[in-house]
Amino acid sequence: MTPFSWDRFLAMGGYAAYVWPAFAVFFLVLLADYLSPGLRRKRQLRELRARMARQRARNPRQTTTP
């Protein structure tokens, strides 16, 4: 087996223009998929806190804070 060389690795035997975009799509799509629920979660909790604050403002005796 010939020793590893970065140039040869990145060239992918002349198919670099197809192999690397394929891997880029794989990682980018999965990254977006992984991050999206975190953003949704932040927004949801922010809205919930706003709702709770409104409720507290309406009747100050009923709070959920300990």
Partner: protein
Amino acid sequence: MANWIPLWVHKLSSPPNFYRFAGIVRPWALGLALVLAAIGLYGGLVLAPADYQQGDAYRIIFIHVPCAWMSLFIYGLMAVASFISLVWRIKLAEVVAMESAPIGAAFTFITLVTGSLWGKPMWGTWWTWDARLTSELVLLFLYLGVIGLYHSFEDRRQGARAAAFLAIIGIINVPIVHFSVNWWNTLHQGSTVRILGPSRISSDMLWPLLTMMFATKCYYLASLFGRVRTDLLAMESGKDWVRQIAEQEARP
């Protein structure tokens, strides 16, 4: 509820318990997915030899095929969870089914795009109406249909019920995708990895492929649990345990 189901299943399927459980499992599943992917891709991109016919272009297989497997696996799981949610009305099954759809759609999309990038140098075309390609495209539309139907109702549980029906009906497409290369002899190559009988692939290429398969499975678990946690918060936003989380996270 049937009494043959053990108690811990009931306990685990209650939203606050599952929320905590998923929070513990998720980082481990993601970590395992990353380690397996690093090993699998090192084996596939560096150690495995070039293909005698396709040169280095075949290396797209190490993401294309695991993603294609996941697109079918997730659809099957989504359909089973949909069935459970319709019959037994288990909230958690409903959430699992509905949150599997975007992940399945992502994997199907990757399968189609990487397949296209592989097809151009090998077949000379980005796209062709081959049986395998067409049925995989239909799979993507089914996923998008489930997602769209779920979000098109004001009441999310009503939307989930309608989308669950579509998911169950669409399961007919899964065997069509799987057997399309046997039933219609068109451009896409046949299966190289077989469960029954020896695989038609060199072991230097097989082990990275199987490692990537486990990596994508672990990734799915991590992504699903993150999505399920978010959905449970939305579903139970009136309950005390969610309010407590909201207050805890407000503190810096």
